[in-house]
């Protein structure tokens, strides 16, 4: 500690309470003792806390320790002159926003320009009047206070941002975990049962999707299948979908209804999942395939997404007008039947795969989707599904879908088990 540094603190009689604002601190850097002492006394009379240093090097030590509100720095000093001190302060991460008042006996324009260029905020002539000194010191302190407030606000914003980023990372981790769970509920791809192959592709618009599907053995003869679409997007839709997915599990339907009859399943779902107060609802397509006879019975609650593709003819939609779940408590969901043949493919799909707009707003549409299905008869099931996604992406010219996009494909590859029954 340099003995020439003094830290007199003048406390007013009424300044002992912690709540009262502390007097601003001014660091006076001046090698001439008389000038320094005189100026310090004048500043103290104005109510400021004054620190004194005899040159720039000493002043830097004081500044780093005390963080003064304002510096009054003489131009000409030994060891480190005023402009060099200003440059050093501006390079110091801790001190760079300090308010620097450069004091000089000469106030030539060139000198003022040099001082400003090297980091000073303002000038004070050694011959300045008392009024000018007071005015410049108060202006410097006012700027210093504003800079400090900005720094505090900036620090608070940075802290808030870090906190927000941390929370966001936690939320994303939770969502990823939930998405992995939902995905684990989807049926495994490949040979589902003897004579039936399953392939699917699923691209939720967000991390968690509201369009889900299931394919499951009900018993030795029946296969249950469904695809559901929750209105809306996001976590809320995904949670509602997971709830309906649980409801549609084979064991639950067998317990409640004694079968996976599509008409009964939809009737029960319509009863249990009414239109929400926010207008949220599901569309649902349910099918039941009798494997020995390849007879598919199906019914729909407002869901448009089932298509049969056969080797011998053009594909056709298994769709009719019907109320989505919850729209009408008395709605009936008529069951229809179709006999499938070996080689036939059944596709369940969400509307998000074909309701994709081109950059000019034109939708890809069901017809173009159907065309890809028809042209894919000679390619593998998974390749046909991949082609649908590829062409939908190409149409919208982006990889990501605005809505959940899902295609589930079943292919009757040969004689099903127990075909002798049929």
């Amino acid at each position: 500690m340099n003995s020439n540094v003094t830290q007199p603190i003048e406390r007013r009689a009424d300044s002992s309470t912690e709540s009262e604002e502390a007097a601003p601190t001014v660091l006076l850097v001046e090698d001439e003792t008389i000038t320094r002492t005189s100026m310090a006394a004048r500043l103290r009379r104005l109510g400021h806390r004054v620190l004194e240093a005899e040159n720039g090097l000493v002043a830097l030590d004081v500044a780093r320790r005390e963080r003064p509100d304002l510096y009054i720095v003489d131009w000409m000093m030994p060891e480190m002159d005023g402009p060099t001190f200003c440059e050093t302060v501006r390079r110091d991460p801790l001190l760079k926003s300090s308010q620097l008042l450069l004091m000089t006996a000469h106030d030539q324009p060139a000198q003022i320009a040099e001082g400003l260029a090297r980091g000073a905020d303002d000038f004070l002539s050694k011959s300045a009047s008392k009024q000018e000194i007071v005015a410049r010191v108060l202006a410097g302190l006012r700027t210093s206070r504003l800079v400090r407030e900005l720094e505090t606000t900036g620090n608070e914003l940075e802290s808030s941002l870090l906190l927000l980023q941390k929370k966001q990372a936690e939320t994303e981790a939770d969502l990823q975990s939930a998405a992995a769970f939902v995905r684990s509920l989807l049926p495994p791809q490949g040979s589902l049962v003897q004579g039936i192959a399953l392939a699917w592709e699923y691209q939720p618009s967000l991390m968690l999707g509201g369009d889900l599907f299931g394919v499951m053995a009900i018993d030795a003869d029946y296969l249950g299948l469904y695809i559901l679409d929750a209105s809306g997007h996001g976590v809320a839709a995904a949670l509602r979908s997971a709830s309906l997915m649980t409801f549609l599990r084979a064991e639950n339907m067998l317990r409640l209804l004694g079968s996976y009859d599509p008409e009964k399943v939809l009737h029960e779902a319509n009863r249990c999942f009414p239109l929400s107060a926010e207008g949220e609802y599901f569309t649902l397509w349910v099918g039941q395939l009798h494997m020995p006879t390849r007879c598919l019975s199906y019914a729909s609650a407002g869901h448009s997404g089932a298509l049969v593709s056969s080797a011998q003819s053009s594909s056709r939609w298994l769709t009719r007008s019907s109320s989505p779940l919850g729209f009408d408590p008395s709605a009936q969901f008529a069951c229809e039947r179709i006999d499938l043949q070996p080689g036939d493919r059944l596709f369940l799909l969400s509307d998000g795969i074909y309701e994709v707009p081109s950059p000019n707003g034109e939708l890809w549409g069901r017809e173009r989707f159907q065309d890809v299905i028809d042209r894919g008869k000679r390619t593998s099931l998974s390749a046909t599904i991949a082609a649908c996604f590829s062409q939908a992406r190409s149409w919208q010219q982006t990889q990501y879908f605005q809505d959940d996009a899902a295609i589930v494909g079943l292919e009757l590859t040969g004689d099903p088990k127990g075909s002798s029954n049929g």
Binding site: L275, S323, P324, A331, D403
Partner: protein, 112 residues
């Protein structure tokens, strides 16, 4: 999405321009609520300039229809484009919400 409100002798017409989707549901709900609060007894949603209605938009129309019926008021839909009409038909919407081809038709039907 833009929504312009017009008062006609037998109700309020909301002229909607843009897509009626999940993303725009807030603006649509606000416009409907404003008309309801003004005492509208027949709300007519003009979909002539709506190219696309998604599942959330459909749900909103049904919910609004149900809520208006509770206060003895009515929702009608005017001039949906072909694709929107198909979507609405698939979900049986015409059985719940009357669909009209002209303002005259909707006003005449209401008067009758």
């Amino acid at each position: 999405m833009q929504i312009n409100e017009r008062i006609v002798p037998q109700g309020t017409i909301l002229d909607v321009v843009g897509d009626l989707t999940y993303a725009n549901r807030g603006a649509f709900k606000a416009a409907v609520e404003k008309a309801k609060n003004a005492g509208c007894r027949h709300l007519i949603v003009n979909l002539e300039k709506v190219r696309f209605v998604d599942s959330a938009g459909l749900g909103l129309l049904v919910l609004i229809s149900q809520n208006l019926k509770l206060i003895q008021a009515q929702l009608s839909v005017l001039k949906p484009q072909l694709y929107v009409r198909e979507i609405m038909s698939l979900a049986n919407i015409p059985k719940m919400i009357p669909i009209y081809e002209s303002e005259e038709a909707v006003l005449t039907a209401r008067a009758a």
